[in-house]
């Protein structure tokens, strides 16, 4: 079966003054539909760059990126935005909620850029799913960290994306809350969403089906996860 994500010899080079900084040095990676993959590695290993390329926020210097069988390596910025809107959901370490907007408004944010009326019923459903049914009218800045991340997950799922990309989603949370959040990712994964999680915490990475370890821009280790 066609993998959801296929990276072929992807490199990314940054020009920093006179020096060239090679953040990714030939990445080959395939993620199958329905997988739950953790990408780990120390800071500076290139995992954030990889996440940006996977999330279509950045383009590779060389190599090929196939998303859903489609070559998205050099598509226009407008098309990238459309793909991010429909196919990819993002969850960030900093939650990135609109502080003055309600939970409902925050969750509906991606639908603003879809050419359709706001799907309020669908938003309620997703908010119920992440366990915030009682907080739908709360403002972003009235929530705890764990609750904010739940809102962010609901926001990432509202458009029904094929891929959920999470960048250190538990980096700002205590361990109990972290496990709750990871349970939400697992739930989304069980419902068919492919999850790619970036983390430097081994305890979190272990909860994935598979880990890919990055070091100095190269994949150094691939392992099946220890959860099952």
């Amino acid at each position: 079966m066609q993998p959801l994500i296929e990276l072929l010899q992807v490199t990314k080079t940054y020009q920093s003054g006179p020096e060239k900084l090679q953040a990714l040095k030939g990445i080959d990676l395939a993620v199958a539909r329905g997988e739950f993959v953790a990408i780990t590695g120390p800071s500076g290993s290139g995992k954030s760059t990889l996440m940006h390329i996977l999330g279509l926020l950045d383009t590779p210097t060389a190599g090929t990126y196939l998303l859903n069988g489609q070559d998205v390596t050099r598509i226009s910025k407008g098309r990238q935005a459309e793909m991010r809107n429909r196919e990819i959901g993002f969850v960030f370490q900093q939650f990135n909620l609109l502080p003055r907007a309600t939970v409902l408004e925050n969750v509906l944010l991606p639908t603003v850029y879809d050419n359709a009326p706001p799907p309020v019923a669908r938003a309620r459903e997703v908010i119920e799913m992440v366990g915030l049914g009682d907080h739908i009218r709360h403002k972003g800045n009235q929530l705890s960290g764990g609750q904010m991340q739940r809102v962010a997950i609901a926001r990432a799922l509202i458009m029904g994306p094929a891929l959920l990309l999470a960048d250190e989603p538990t980096g700002n949370l205590d361990s109990v809350t972290s496990l709750e959040i990871m349970e939400l990712f697992r739930m989304a994964n069980r419902r068919g969403t492919t999850v790619v999680l970036i983390t430097h915490e081994p305890d979190i990475a272990r909860l994935a089906d598979r880990t890919v370890e990055l070091r100095d821009g190269r994949i150094t280790h691939r392992a099946r996860g220890g959860r099952r």
Partner: protein, 422 residues
Amino acid sequence: MRKMANIATQAAQALLANKGRALLTILGIVIGIASVIALLGIGQGASNSITGRIATLGNSTLTVVPGGSAAAGLEGGGGGGGQADQNSSSGMPFTSMAGSSLSEKDLAELQATERHPSIRAVAGVVSASTILEIHGHQQRVPLTGVTPAYFSIYGLKAQHGRLLGDEDAKEKRLVLGSQVAADLYGGDDPTGRQIKVEGQEFTIVGVLAASEESAFRNPNDQLYIPAAVAMERLGIKNYGSLVVQAAGDGQVGLAAAEARTTLLETHAIADPKLADFSILSPQDLVAVTQQVAGTLTALLTSIAAISLVVGGIGIMNIMLVSVTERTREIGLRKAVGAKTRDILFQFLLEAVILTLAGSALGILLGFGVGDLAGTLLGFPPVITPRAIALAIVVAAAVGLVFGLYPAAKAARLNPIDALRYG
């Protein structure tokens, strides 16, 4: 497009989330629009008010004044048939209008109405001033020498006694304006009394009924004596002006043409450009007045418009701060699918909503300021739909122009950097 509506909702929500700041941001626009609206309203009101007063001169009277150019005649304040202002400023009790070209013969020729079907009546006028002692105070009073037709042309009626007639032409007889009579004699009928004017005894033959003031002439504060007597006192042979009444409102143009032809003929002038007289109609005065008022309004309004530019710069400043503060939000919007043009549209729309809200408040404030100024100045401001439309269009344009740079800056943000910001 549904997406545009969605983004517009986002723009409105972003502004409503920070109402206090939004209000402060648009303060400059509010003041700018209010000034423009108030000034346009006051300018139009002033113009209408003056036009209205000129209309009280009567639509059917023309004034013939000496001098070649109509503009020169206007500057002399002679449009309404009296040069009282001009002459009273000279300081001499009886001031002559030396060099006037309007002779007895001109009057006679114009009065031959069978040859001028569009002219109903003509009066000769000599304006001067004199000093009367009223309740022990010396007071300068306008003195007008008139031929009998003057009273009928201006619709002046006697309250006591009678008006001046042909039989009075050479007599030292006098009619008082209602105000002068009241000042001198209270409510009593002074008919038949003697009054000293410049050391000469004049007999009062009548008092005028109070009559409406016009733009250039208050009929109530004048003394009226026969024109010939005034000319003799002043040592002149000609009239200061001639007042021509057209046969009807629609015949003012014809009457002016007839008067012009007749006078050119009697003055033996072949080229109308060399005429030594000018014929002024109320319409001319209205046109000149409106032109002056329009120029003044335009000048004042352009000064007010400068405050709109300042207001626009204020909006740009706050928008730039807002873009910086909302960098992460912009990054997030891009990450979840906003295109560059979606961000541009949202921020541009926020700027335009701000300036439009500012113009709405400014229009309300402008009405208030205009009313207040109108009360102080004594005429109602006239705020036209055109002025309001102008204010709205200008405000929207200010929003677009000054919102463009901050919006472009927001739209250009790289989502990766924006998400890491702060």
